[in-house]
Amino acid sequence: MTLFRNVVFIAALAGLCAGIVLAALQSFATVPLILQAETFENAGEAAPHDHGTPAAGEQAAASHSHDHDEEGWAPADGFERFFYTAAANALSGIGFGLVLLAVSELSGGISSWRNGLFWGFAGFAVFTLAPGLGLPPELPAMPAADLASRQVWWVGTVIATAAGLWLIAFRKSLPLAALGVALIVLPHVIGAPQPESHDSPVPADLHHSFVVAVTITNLVFWLVLGAVAGMIRSRFLGQPALRGSFA
């Protein structure tokens, strides 16, 4: 179990670094926008917003269903809320790090911090870019389709994009590369579940700023994760296996 232990250790170190960086970036890039959107959400609850049609109004009301006061424990605003956000980021950094390390070790290992940057770009494309095209980052108070169906599309898109990139990067075959491209395109041909109406009390420019902030902060997260993993990997696992690679 030496390999397992070492992989967990590298993932924990790289994940903590990247998760803490991400939490710091979020605290001024994304969280203020979430708080701003919640003011629309709360305003909508105090005086129900007229969305023009009753159906759209009901759907928007349904999307408000996470009111913290009515649904059990939630961290208090301020430090406690930041603490839980930061903890979730650090833990998920370790989780993403484990996935990145497992896949990269099966493909020969990340050889350097620079090689790690390419792995980071791949992780960003798989976990942020591809699912974000069909399901852009949402703010509170925005309408959305059924949660379970969006989660299924999200997971399917991540798997198809990862498989597609892997075929392109590691199988030196034109037909398999073409299959890889097809796998990456497929989820977007199927299309992500969308709400019946996009009517939202959240201003479009606020949402646009949020999409940019989420995408860029996640890019930095993945680049830090990949680079740190590449930097410390050879200290624990020795030199990576020789093979032709893309970087």
Partner: protein
């Protein structure tokens, strides 16, 4: 996965290596899945800003 490991050289093709990496990967999937996808109210509320900031489907 034999088709993968054959490209890595004979010394690293053991099933044990694959099993250990698979366990590490599954552990990571479990951690991320729990943080980002759990329908438990407490997990949702604690990780609310995190979920929005990572663009996980939320609400």
């Amino acid at each position: 996965m034999n088709t993968v490991t054959t490209t890595l050289g004979a010394d690293v093709t053991s099933a044990s290596k694959f099993m250990q990496l698979a366990m590490a990967g599954l552990l990571g999937v479990f951690v991320v899945g729990f943080l980002g996808f759990s329908h438990m109210e407490v997990v949702h509320n604690a990780g609310h800003d995190y979920r929005h900031s990572l663009a996980f489907p939320c609400h």
